[in-house]
Symmetry: C2
Subunit: 333 residues, 2 copies
DNA sequence: GTGAAAGCGCTAACAC
DNA sequence: GTGTTAGCGCTTTCAC
């Protein structure tokens, strides 16, 4: 095994408690002794065992990050930012994948609870009741969801949806569709309400299609429905779904944006690289990851934190078919 | 704090060691007692504290995964597969990001060593010497690199490079370039040797351009060099760089594949979605993640493990300029 | 300012 | 088959 506090104490001719103090309460030890201990520790390659320390202090200096799908391009920037921020606080992070399964989610909270000082739940699919119950086991911060009594950071999808729908109606689209996300996704409701309102305000119809898996395949699978519904403008739950829809439409011989306009949500890196480049609602995911960690580690902060969203207009949206192209409808509002 | 073994023992009228055995060596305890203990534990919501257990057994049931850049689309599938496989073994995984910095890499190994039973190093940028030294602190498995004495899983990039170059020369390209990866990337050497050999075999020139950051920006930044070098076929260190190069070329008014053909490596999800769709060397990254974890947790396995690669021909490669299109050079070899 | 002793939650001999 | 005991590596009273 590795070098322990005892060996450092022996090598240095002091008691183990002095070594301990050198690391956990340096001000309590004589400056000279301290530097001697530090030197010995350095020489032996001693590192305090965090787990042993946690047994007494109750602080593990670990947090957990539970996400639906690590490989979904929405999450990596969030994970990266969370890990960076955690490490800035001298924390390490456990990562776990739920595969969109609420049961797995719940089990993971249980499994990790003892090893962490808190957990960040990204877009959890569990019910509020379950989340509240789980929050008695360990500190919880939720991302992209509001739960009474819990810290949370949410993207302003309502605003995003409104901007997206206004953009589409501004381009002359009157028959719109909304592709919702997976069952259990908290944003579905917000999205639906905001989109419905915005559509009504512009005398446009809104067909709601879903629930759908939050993936390309999920979007592609709705291409036929979209075509059949006769809509010309679509807002999708996320970029992946929007991109999948565009592909599905393409396979059906329907051109984007000439025949159908598509808007995504998230502004993942990918959206700039597809053809047509995706018009989408940008959400500050990296910031969300960072803030979630801050909320976890500095409990006194105000919450929920709402993060602004913006519409990024690219090439997947254009004037409604039959409308003169000269209508420079692409200019924002 | 949460419920401990002692409370379960009390509630159940047995000694704590019986409770302990119920969880860590169930066969040593009477079936009836066991189910009684299990019932009590269940009722109280008891979960063994892994950290306390690890203090004695020396097994943490944690592993760590250290990657250069979580947000680089190459890694998420690998991370996801590793986490799934780890959980299958009842392990949890720490994730950490090095930002391509070898010093951070080294520090992370130190920091995590005590909390894990082993670490997976993905594409480490440290020197072999450092890695070997670190391997005395905790079990190490390296991905995309060979280090004497360590378990490793590598993609057969030599084969991939050969296939890619042969594909290009088969299309009539005679002036080729290789965009290498970041300094310290182990695959650079392999790639360079294999590409050089394959180019020579086809009487083609190979200009080596690099080192480059393994990102879109890294690829885009080489567009001018590529144009100036007068090459018509390029193999890039990875897909991201290839995609960046294509964009950079596009900005210069150079069309892909009409004027320059570009091949990537990895086959990240993104490569199917860009326009033109990227011709690339597919590497089984998810499999690599899974196998790396297996190597870590079942030490008796043979290593290094080499994973096959295949050329996936899409739309970013075409006949060399001036060559008749009727030469059905796109057919493999 | 430093040492001694107790104990965090748990496992692993060793008795019985 | 179960209880007793010691102790994993560390922090934290409490003396001195």
């Amino acid at each position: 095994m590795a070098v322990t506090i005892r060996e450092v104490a022996r090598a240095c001719g002091v008691h183990i408690s002095t070594v301990s103090r050198t690391f956990s309460a340096p001000h309590l030890v004589n400056a000279e002794t301290r530097s001697r201990v530090l030197a010995c520790a350095e020489r032996l390659g001693y590192r305090p065992n965090r787990a042993a320390r946690a047994l007494i202090t109750g602080r593990t200096y670990n947090i957990g990050l539970i996400v639906a799908d690590i490989a979904n391009p929405f999450f990596p920037p969030l994970i990266k930012a969370a890990e960076s921020q955690a490490r800035r606080h001298d924390y390490h992070v456990f990562i776990a994948n739920t595969n969109e399964d609420p049961a797995v989610e719940e089990e993971l909270v249980h499994a990790l609870a003892k090893q962490v000082d808190g957990l960040v739940l990204c877009s959890p699919r569990m019910s509020d009741g379950v989340i509240e119950r789980l929050s008695r086991e360990t500190r919880l911060v939720v991302v992209n969801r509001r739960v009474a009594g819990l810290s949370s950071v949410v993207m302003d999808v309502a605003r995003g949806a409104r901007l997206a729908i206004e953009h589409l109606t501004g381009l002359g689209h009157r028959a719109l569709a909304l592709l919702t996300g997976p069952r259990g996704a908290w944003t579905n409701g917000t999205l639906r309400r905001a989109a419905t309102l915005a559509a009504q305000a512009a005398n446009s119809s809104l067909t709601v299609l879903g629930p759908n898996p939050p993936t390309e395949a999920g979007g592609a699978a709705q291409a036929e429905q979209v075509a059949r519904a006769g809509v010309t403008g679509v807002l999708a739950y996320n970029d992946l779904m929007a991109i999948g829809l565009i592909e599905g439409l393409d396979a059906l011989g329907i051109r984007v944006p000439e025949e159908v306009s598509v808007v995504g949500i998230d502004d993942i890196a990918l959206s700039r690289l597809t053809r047509p480049k995706l018009t989408t609602v940008a959400t500050p995911t990296a910031q969300a990851g960072q803030i979630a960690v801050d909320l976890l580690l500095t409990p006194d902060q105000r919450s929920p934190v709402t993060l602004g969203t913006e519409l990024v207009i690219r090439d997947s949206t254009g004037p409604a078919p039959g409308r003169a192209r000269t209508t420079d409808a692409k200019a924002r509002r």
